[in-house]
Protein backbone atom coordinates (compact mmCIF):
# COMPACT_ATOMS: atom_id res chain seq x y z
CA UNK A 1 0.00 0.00 0.00
CA UNK A 2 2.71 2.44 1.05
CA UNK A 3 4.85 1.47 -1.92
CA UNK A 4 1.98 2.46 -4.19
CA UNK A 5 1.54 5.84 -2.55
CA UNK A 6 5.26 6.56 -2.71
CA UNK A 7 5.36 5.52 -6.34
CA UNK A 8 2.46 7.83 -7.20
CA UNK A 9 4.04 10.71 -5.25
CA UNK A 10 7.38 10.20 -7.03
CA UNK A 11 5.63 10.15 -10.38
CA UNK A 12 3.78 13.34 -9.53
CA UNK A 13 7.02 14.96 -8.35
CA UNK A 14 8.68 14.03 -11.62
CA UNK A 15 5.81 15.40 -13.65
CA UNK A 16 5.85 18.55 -11.50
CA UNK A 17 9.58 19.01 -11.99
CA UNK A 18 9.20 18.50 -15.70
CA UNK A 19 6.40 21.04 -15.88
CA UNK A 20 8.46 23.51 -13.80
CA UNK A 21 11.39 23.01 -16.15
CA UNK A 22 9.26 23.63 -19.21
CA UNK A 23 7.40 26.64 -17.84
CA UNK A 24 10.58 28.32 -16.62
CA UNK A 25 12.56 27.73 -19.82
CA UNK A 26 13.88 30.99 -21.22
CA UNK A 27 12.02 32.31 -24.23
CA UNK A 28 14.42 34.02 -26.61
CA UNK A 29 14.40 35.71 -29.97
CA UNK A 30 16.12 34.09 -32.94
CA UNK A 31 18.46 36.00 -35.24
CA UNK A 32 15.75 35.90 -37.88
CA UNK A 33 13.42 37.87 -35.55
CA UNK A 34 15.64 40.94 -35.91
CA UNK A 35 15.71 42.98 -39.10
CA UNK A 36 18.95 44.12 -40.79
CA UNK A 37 18.37 47.61 -39.47
CA UNK A 38 21.55 49.74 -39.41
CA UNK A 39 21.92 51.38 -35.98
CA UNK A 40 20.96 55.05 -35.95
CA UNK A 41 23.31 56.37 -33.25
CA UNK A 42 21.42 59.63 -32.79
CA UNK A 43 18.21 57.77 -32.07
CA UNK A 44 20.22 55.39 -29.92
CA UNK A 45 21.36 58.28 -27.75
CA UNK A 46 17.79 59.55 -27.60
CA UNK A 47 16.51 56.13 -26.53
CA UNK A 48 19.26 56.05 -23.88
CA UNK A 49 17.66 59.06 -22.21
CA UNK A 50 14.07 58.02 -22.96
CA UNK A 51 14.88 54.66 -21.35
CA UNK A 52 16.53 56.22 -18.32
CA UNK A 53 19.41 53.74 -18.49
CA UNK A 54 21.84 56.05 -16.68
CA UNK A 55 19.58 56.40 -13.64
CA UNK A 56 20.33 52.81 -12.67
CA UNK A 57 23.47 51.87 -14.57
CA UNK A 58 25.57 55.01 -14.06
CA UNK A 59 28.50 54.59 -11.68
CA UNK A 60 27.29 56.14 -8.39
CA UNK A 61 28.97 59.18 -6.86
CA UNK A 62 29.78 60.89 -10.14
CA UNK A 63 27.89 63.04 -12.64
CA UNK A 64 28.72 61.53 -16.05
CA UNK A 65 25.56 59.82 -17.30
CA UNK A 66 27.59 57.91 -19.89
CA UNK A 67 29.86 56.26 -17.32
CA UNK A 68 28.00 52.96 -17.01
CA UNK A 69 30.06 51.02 -14.49
CA UNK A 70 27.02 49.93 -12.44
CA UNK A 71 27.16 49.29 -8.71
CA UNK A 72 24.05 51.14 -7.52
CA UNK A 73 22.17 49.25 -4.80
CA UNK A 74 18.39 49.00 -5.13
CA UNK A 75 16.40 47.96 -2.08
CA UNK A 76 13.22 45.95 -2.56
CA UNK A 77 10.87 43.64 -0.63
CA UNK A 78 12.81 40.74 -2.19
CA UNK A 79 16.29 41.81 -1.12
CA UNK A 80 18.98 44.13 -2.45
CA UNK A 81 19.77 44.26 -6.15
CA UNK A 82 23.11 45.53 -7.41
CA UNK A 83 22.96 47.11 -10.84
CA UNK A 84 25.44 45.63 -13.37
CA UNK A 85 28.03 47.32 -15.55
CA UNK A 86 26.64 47.84 -19.07
CA UNK A 87 29.58 49.74 -20.50
CA UNK A 88 31.15 48.13 -23.58
CA UNK A 89 33.93 46.69 -21.41
CA UNK A 90 34.66 43.15 -22.61
CA UNK A 91 35.39 41.74 -19.13
CA UNK A 92 33.19 43.69 -16.72
CA UNK A 93 30.47 45.02 -19.05
CA UNK A 94 28.61 44.00 -22.18
CA UNK A 95 31.48 44.42 -24.62
CA UNK A 96 31.38 41.58 -27.11
CA UNK A 97 27.59 41.11 -26.87
CA UNK A 98 25.88 40.61 -30.21
CA UNK A 99 22.86 42.69 -31.16
CA UNK A 100 20.75 39.58 -30.62
CA UNK A 101 22.15 39.24 -27.08
CA UNK A 102 21.19 42.82 -26.31
CA UNK A 103 17.71 42.41 -27.82
CA UNK A 104 17.10 39.28 -25.77
CA UNK A 105 18.13 41.10 -22.62
CA UNK A 106 15.88 44.12 -23.27
CA UNK A 107 12.87 42.40 -24.80
CA UNK A 108 12.90 38.98 -23.13
CA UNK A 109 14.88 39.50 -19.94
CA UNK A 110 17.30 36.71 -20.85
CA UNK A 111 21.09 36.88 -20.55
CA UNK A 112 23.47 35.65 -23.27
CA UNK A 113 24.11 32.51 -21.20
CA UNK A 114 20.38 31.76 -21.20
CA UNK A 115 19.70 32.69 -17.58
CA UNK A 116 16.84 34.96 -16.56
CA UNK A 117 17.27 38.54 -15.42
CA UNK A 118 15.42 39.76 -12.34
CA UNK A 119 12.58 42.12 -13.23
CA UNK A 120 14.27 44.87 -11.22
CA UNK A 121 15.57 45.33 -14.76
CA UNK A 122 12.28 46.61 -16.18
CA UNK A 123 11.97 44.38 -19.23
CA UNK A 124 8.23 44.15 -18.55
CA UNK A 125 8.16 47.66 -20.03
CA UNK A 126 11.13 47.46 -22.38
CA UNK A 127 9.44 44.45 -24.07
CA UNK A 128 7.16 47.05 -25.71
CA UNK A 129 10.06 48.74 -27.49
CA UNK A 130 10.46 48.55 -31.25
CA UNK A 131 13.38 46.22 -32.14
CA UNK A 132 14.81 49.05 -34.28
CA UNK A 133 14.96 51.33 -31.24
CA UNK A 134 16.70 48.56 -29.28
CA UNK A 135 19.22 48.04 -32.11
CA UNK A 136 19.88 51.82 -32.17
CA UNK A 137 20.40 51.85 -28.40
CA UNK A 138 22.93 49.01 -28.60
CA UNK A 139 24.78 50.88 -31.36
CA UNK A 140 24.98 53.95 -29.14
CA UNK A 141 26.14 52.07 -26.04
CA UNK A 142 28.90 50.47 -28.13
CA UNK A 143 30.35 53.95 -28.74
CA UNK A 144 30.72 54.71 -25.01
CA UNK A 145 33.80 54.35 -22.79
CA UNK A 146 34.46 50.84 -21.45
CA UNK A 147 34.45 50.98 -17.65
CA UNK A 148 36.24 48.51 -15.41
CA UNK A 149 34.33 47.70 -12.25
CA UNK A 150 33.73 44.83 -9.87
CA UNK A 151 30.06 44.80 -9.00
CA UNK A 152 29.03 42.10 -6.49
CA UNK A 153 25.98 39.98 -7.20
CA UNK A 154 22.54 40.60 -5.75
CA UNK A 155 21.78 40.01 -2.09
CA UNK A 156 18.55 38.01 -2.16
CA UNK A 157 17.32 35.58 0.52
CA UNK A 158 15.94 32.13 -0.33
CA UNK A 159 13.76 31.49 -2.38
CA UNK A 160 14.28 34.67 -4.38
CA UNK A 161 17.83 33.70 -5.25
CA UNK A 162 16.69 30.86 -7.54
CA UNK A 163 17.05 32.49 -10.95
CA UNK A 164 15.34 29.68 -12.80
CA UNK A 165 12.10 30.38 -10.96
CA UNK A 166 11.95 33.74 -12.73
CA UNK A 167 10.78 31.77 -15.73
CA UNK A 168 7.61 31.15 -13.74
CA UNK A 169 7.34 34.85 -12.89
CA UNK A 170 7.72 35.67 -16.58
CA UNK A 171 5.08 33.07 -17.46
CA UNK A 172 2.69 35.06 -15.29
CA UNK A 173 3.87 38.58 -16.05
CA UNK A 174 5.63 38.90 -19.39
CA UNK A 175 3.13 38.98 -22.24
CA UNK A 176 5.76 39.38 -24.97
CA UNK A 177 3.65 41.94 -26.81
CA UNK A 178 5.36 44.85 -28.50
CA UNK A 179 3.70 48.25 -28.70
CA UNK A 180 0.60 48.45 -30.89
CA UNK A 181 -0.54 51.98 -31.75
CA UNK A 182 -4.26 52.48 -31.27
CA UNK A 183 -5.71 53.74 -34.57
CA UNK A 184 -8.53 55.46 -32.69
CA UNK A 185 -6.06 57.76 -30.90
CA UNK A 186 -4.01 60.66 -32.26
CA UNK A 187 -0.39 60.25 -33.36
CA UNK A 188 0.62 62.41 -30.43
CA UNK A 189 -1.12 60.21 -27.85
CA UNK A 190 0.26 57.07 -29.47
CA UNK A 191 3.76 58.52 -29.33
CA UNK A 192 3.22 59.41 -25.67
CA UNK A 193 1.89 55.91 -24.97
CA UNK A 194 4.97 54.36 -26.58
CA UNK A 195 7.36 56.55 -24.60
CA UNK A 196 5.57 56.02 -21.27
CA UNK A 197 4.90 52.29 -21.58
CA UNK A 198 8.07 51.30 -23.50
CA UNK A 199 11.38 53.00 -22.87
CA UNK A 200 10.02 55.37 -20.19
CA UNK A 201 8.93 52.42 -18.07
CA UNK A 202 6.91 54.80 -15.89
CA UNK A 203 4.48 52.05 -14.94
CA UNK A 204 7.23 50.17 -13.08
CA UNK A 205 7.12 52.70 -10.24
CA UNK A 206 3.70 54.26 -10.75
CA UNK A 207 1.67 51.01 -10.90
CA UNK A 208 0.81 48.85 -7.87
CA UNK A 209 2.23 45.32 -7.72
CA UNK A 210 0.88 42.02 -6.39
CA UNK A 211 2.70 40.12 -3.59
CA UNK A 212 4.97 38.40 -6.15
CA UNK A 213 5.96 41.77 -7.62
CA UNK A 214 3.88 41.46 -10.79
CA UNK A 215 2.41 44.68 -12.16
CA UNK A 216 -1.34 45.06 -11.61
CA UNK A 217 -2.16 46.18 -15.12
CA UNK A 218 -5.80 46.85 -14.29
CA UNK A 219 -4.56 49.75 -12.14
CA UNK A 220 -2.02 51.08 -14.58
CA UNK A 221 -0.22 54.27 -13.48
CA UNK A 222 -2.53 54.78 -10.49
CA UNK A 223 0.34 55.02 -8.03
CA UNK A 224 2.04 52.63 -5.60
CA UNK A 225 4.00 52.51 -2.33
CA UNK A 226 7.63 53.53 -2.72
CA UNK A 227 9.59 50.27 -3.24
CA UNK A 228 12.61 51.76 -1.54
CA UNK A 229 10.85 52.46 1.75
CA UNK A 230 8.86 55.44 2.89
CA UNK A 231 6.37 57.55 1.00
CA UNK A 232 4.21 56.86 -2.02
CA UNK A 233 4.66 57.13 -5.76
CA UNK A 234 1.80 59.27 -7.10
CA UNK A 235 -1.13 58.53 -9.38
CA UNK A 236 -0.27 59.92 -12.84
CA UNK A 237 -3.49 59.09 -14.64
CA UNK A 238 -5.87 61.86 -15.66
CA UNK A 239 -7.60 61.42 -12.29
CA UNK A 240 -4.33 61.78 -10.38
CA UNK A 241 -3.19 64.73 -12.50
CA UNK A 242 -6.53 66.55 -12.47
CA UNK A 243 -4.85 69.64 -10.97
CA UNK A 244 -2.16 69.71 -13.67
CA UNK A 245 -2.76 71.25 -17.08
CA UNK A 246 -1.00 69.34 -19.89
CA UNK A 247 1.51 72.13 -20.40
CA UNK A 248 2.48 71.95 -16.70
CA UNK A 249 3.15 68.22 -16.99
CA UNK A 250 5.43 68.84 -19.96
CA UNK A 251 7.14 71.73 -18.14
CA UNK A 252 7.73 69.58 -15.05
CA UNK A 253 9.37 66.90 -17.21
CA UNK A 254 11.62 69.59 -18.65
CA UNK A 255 12.56 71.54 -15.50
CA UNK A 256 11.35 69.61 -12.47
CA UNK A 257 9.08 72.48 -11.42
CA UNK A 258 5.52 71.64 -10.40
CA UNK A 259 2.47 73.90 -10.89
CA UNK A 260 2.94 75.26 -7.36
CA UNK A 261 6.63 75.97 -8.05
CA UNK A 262 7.86 73.13 -5.91
CA UNK A 263 10.71 71.04 -7.29
CA UNK A 264 10.17 67.34 -8.05
CA UNK A 265 12.39 65.32 -5.74
CA UNK A 266 12.96 61.74 -4.71
CA UNK A 267 13.42 59.38 -7.63
CA UNK A 268 11.73 61.85 -9.99
CA UNK A 269 14.81 64.09 -9.83
CA UNK A 270 16.72 61.42 -11.78
CA UNK A 271 13.78 60.99 -14.17
CA UNK A 272 13.69 64.71 -14.95
CA UNK A 273 17.44 64.64 -15.68
CA UNK A 274 16.52 62.17 -18.46
CA UNK A 275 13.27 63.70 -19.73
CA UNK A 276 14.99 67.09 -19.95
CA UNK A 277 16.82 65.53 -22.93
CA UNK A 278 13.65 64.70 -24.87
CA UNK A 279 12.18 67.00 -27.49
CA UNK A 280 9.42 69.39 -26.37
CA UNK A 281 7.08 67.52 -28.74
CA UNK A 282 7.80 64.24 -26.98
CA UNK A 283 7.25 65.76 -23.54
CA UNK A 284 3.95 67.15 -24.82
CA UNK A 285 3.09 63.69 -26.16
CA UNK A 286 3.80 62.12 -22.76
CA UNK A 287 1.59 64.75 -21.09
CA UNK A 288 -1.21 64.17 -23.63
CA UNK A 289 -1.05 60.40 -23.10
CA UNK A 290 -1.12 60.65 -19.29
CA UNK A 291 -4.15 62.94 -19.49
CA UNK A 292 -5.87 60.30 -21.63
CA UNK A 293 -5.49 57.45 -19.10
CA UNK A 294 -8.75 57.55 -17.13
CA UNK A 295 -7.58 56.05 -13.84
CA UNK A 296 -9.73 54.62 -11.08
CA UNK A 297 -10.04 57.08 -8.26
Amino acid sequence: MFKRIIFVLLALALVGAGAFWLITAPDTLAASDLSDHEPDLENGRYMFFAGGCASCHKTPGQEDALNLGGGLELGSPFGTFRVPNISPDPDDGIGGWSTLDFANAMLKGVAPDGSHYYPAFPYTSYQRMRPEDVIDLKGFIDTLEPVSSDVPGHDLPFPFNIRRSLGGWKFLNLDGKSFEPDPALSDQINRGAYLVNGPGHCGECHTPRDPLGGLQRGEWLTGAPNPEGKGTVPDITAAGLSDWPESDIAYALETGFTPDFDSLGGSMAAVVRNTANLTPEDRDAIAAYLKSVPGGQ
Partner: protein, 149 residues
Protein backbone atom coordinates in the same frame (compact mmCIF):
# COMPACT_ATOMS: atom_id res chain seq x y z
CA UNK B 1 0.72 95.52 -9.16
CA UNK B 2 1.91 91.92 -9.32
CA UNK B 3 5.26 92.95 -7.92
CA UNK B 4 3.53 94.54 -4.95
CA UNK B 5 1.42 91.45 -4.49
CA UNK B 6 4.49 89.23 -4.51
CA UNK B 7 6.43 91.49 -2.19
CA UNK B 8 3.41 91.74 0.08
CA UNK B 9 3.02 87.97 0.22
CA UNK B 10 6.72 87.55 0.91
CA UNK B 11 6.57 90.01 3.79
CA UNK B 12 3.50 88.33 5.28
CA UNK B 13 5.06 84.90 5.04
CA UNK B 14 8.41 86.07 6.39
CA UNK B 15 6.60 87.71 9.29
CA UNK B 16 4.73 84.49 9.90
CA UNK B 17 8.04 82.66 9.74
CA UNK B 18 9.64 85.04 12.20
CA UNK B 19 6.60 84.75 14.45
CA UNK B 20 6.71 80.97 14.50
CA UNK B 21 10.45 81.08 15.11
CA UNK B 22 9.69 83.29 18.06
CA UNK B 23 7.28 80.56 19.14
CA UNK B 24 10.22 78.12 19.00
CA UNK B 25 8.66 75.97 16.30
CA UNK B 26 11.43 75.04 13.87
CA UNK B 27 9.22 72.72 11.86
CA UNK B 28 6.61 75.39 11.16
CA UNK B 29 9.36 77.91 10.41
CA UNK B 30 11.16 75.71 7.92
CA UNK B 31 7.87 74.87 6.19
CA UNK B 32 7.16 78.60 5.92
CA UNK B 33 10.61 79.22 4.42
CA UNK B 34 10.02 76.58 1.78
CA UNK B 35 6.56 77.93 0.98
CA UNK B 36 8.18 81.31 0.55
CA UNK B 37 10.82 79.76 -1.73
CA UNK B 38 7.96 78.42 -3.84
CA UNK B 39 6.50 81.92 -4.18
CA UNK B 40 9.88 83.33 -5.17
CA UNK B 41 10.41 80.55 -7.72
CA UNK B 42 6.91 81.23 -8.96
CA UNK B 43 7.78 84.81 -9.79
CA UNK B 44 10.82 83.67 -11.78
CA UNK B 45 9.07 80.72 -13.49
CA UNK B 46 6.16 82.88 -14.63
CA UNK B 47 8.60 85.29 -16.27
CA UNK B 48 10.52 82.44 -17.90
CA UNK B 49 7.32 80.90 -19.28
CA UNK B 50 6.13 84.24 -20.59
CA UNK B 51 3.11 84.26 -18.28
CA UNK B 52 4.28 87.43 -16.55
CA UNK B 53 6.22 90.40 -17.93
CA UNK B 54 9.94 90.47 -17.21
CA UNK B 55 10.87 92.88 -14.43
CA UNK B 56 14.50 93.01 -13.32
CA UNK B 57 13.76 94.32 -9.84
CA UNK B 58 11.14 91.64 -9.13
CA UNK B 59 13.45 88.92 -10.46
CA UNK B 60 16.38 90.02 -8.33
CA UNK B 61 14.12 90.42 -5.31
CA UNK B 62 12.96 86.81 -5.76
CA UNK B 63 16.58 85.61 -5.83
CA UNK B 64 17.33 87.66 -2.71
CA UNK B 65 14.37 86.02 -0.95
CA UNK B 66 15.76 82.58 -1.83
CA UNK B 67 19.19 83.56 -0.56
CA UNK B 68 17.85 84.90 2.72
CA UNK B 69 15.81 81.76 3.30
CA UNK B 70 18.81 79.52 2.77
CA UNK B 71 21.01 81.17 5.41
CA UNK B 72 20.83 79.22 8.64
CA UNK B 73 18.18 76.91 7.13
CA UNK B 74 19.72 73.70 8.40
CA UNK B 75 19.59 75.11 11.92
CA UNK B 76 15.83 74.57 11.71
CA UNK B 77 16.39 70.81 11.90
CA UNK B 78 17.40 70.18 15.51
CA UNK B 79 17.20 66.75 17.06
CA UNK B 80 13.66 66.07 18.18
CA UNK B 81 11.99 67.50 15.04
CA UNK B 82 12.37 64.35 12.91
CA UNK B 83 8.64 63.70 13.09
CA UNK B 84 5.55 65.70 13.94
CA UNK B 85 4.35 69.06 12.67
CA UNK B 86 3.46 67.39 9.35
CA UNK B 87 7.11 67.46 8.32
CA UNK B 88 8.28 66.12 4.96
CA UNK B 89 11.87 65.96 6.16
CA UNK B 90 13.53 62.63 5.40
CA UNK B 91 15.31 60.80 8.26
CA UNK B 92 18.37 61.00 6.01
CA UNK B 93 18.83 64.59 7.15
CA UNK B 94 19.81 63.46 10.62
CA UNK B 95 21.72 60.44 9.34
CA UNK B 96 23.83 62.69 7.13
CA UNK B 97 23.64 66.25 8.44
CA UNK B 98 26.87 67.18 6.66
CA UNK B 99 25.42 66.12 3.32
CA UNK B 100 22.24 68.07 4.03
CA UNK B 101 24.23 71.16 4.94
CA UNK B 102 26.20 70.84 1.70
CA UNK B 103 22.94 70.85 -0.29
CA UNK B 104 21.70 73.93 1.58
CA UNK B 105 25.01 75.69 0.94
CA UNK B 106 24.61 74.90 -2.76
CA UNK B 107 21.41 76.97 -2.78
CA UNK B 108 23.15 79.79 -0.92
CA UNK B 109 26.02 79.70 -3.40
CA UNK B 110 23.79 79.63 -6.48
CA UNK B 111 21.69 82.55 -5.28
CA UNK B 112 24.74 84.50 -4.07
CA UNK B 113 26.24 84.16 -7.54
CA UNK B 114 23.13 85.74 -9.09
CA UNK B 115 23.11 88.50 -6.48
CA UNK B 116 26.75 89.24 -7.40
CA UNK B 117 25.85 89.63 -11.09
CA UNK B 118 22.20 90.71 -11.02
CA UNK B 119 19.63 89.68 -13.62
CA UNK B 120 19.16 92.22 -16.39
CA UNK B 121 17.11 90.30 -18.94
CA UNK B 122 14.94 87.23 -19.53
CA UNK B 123 17.97 85.10 -20.39
CA UNK B 124 19.33 85.93 -16.96
CA UNK B 125 16.05 84.69 -15.41
CA UNK B 126 16.28 81.40 -17.30
CA UNK B 127 19.93 80.94 -16.40
CA UNK B 128 19.18 81.67 -12.74
CA UNK B 129 16.26 79.22 -12.79
CA UNK B 130 18.47 76.51 -14.22
CA UNK B 131 21.23 76.96 -11.66
CA UNK B 132 18.90 77.42 -8.69
CA UNK B 133 16.46 74.70 -9.77
CA UNK B 134 19.33 72.23 -9.83
CA UNK B 135 20.01 72.91 -6.17
CA UNK B 136 16.31 72.47 -5.30
CA UNK B 137 16.25 69.10 -7.05
CA UNK B 138 19.62 68.09 -5.64
CA UNK B 139 18.36 68.41 -2.09
CA UNK B 140 14.77 67.20 -2.58
CA UNK B 141 16.06 64.11 -4.32
CA UNK B 142 17.57 62.76 -1.12
CA UNK B 143 16.39 64.73 1.87
CA UNK B 144 12.65 65.15 1.38
CA UNK B 145 9.81 62.63 1.40
CA UNK B 146 6.78 64.17 -0.26
CA UNK B 147 3.58 63.54 1.66
CA UNK B 148 0.80 63.56 -0.89
CA UNK B 149 1.43 62.97 -4.55
Amino acid sequence: MKRLLFAGTAIVVMTAAAASWAAMDPTATRKAVMKNNGAAMGALVKMAKGEAPFEANAANLAVRVLYNGSIGYTGLFPAGTETGGDTEASPKIWEDMAGFEAKSEALSAATAAVIATPITDLDGVKAALGAIGKTCQGCHETYRIKKDG
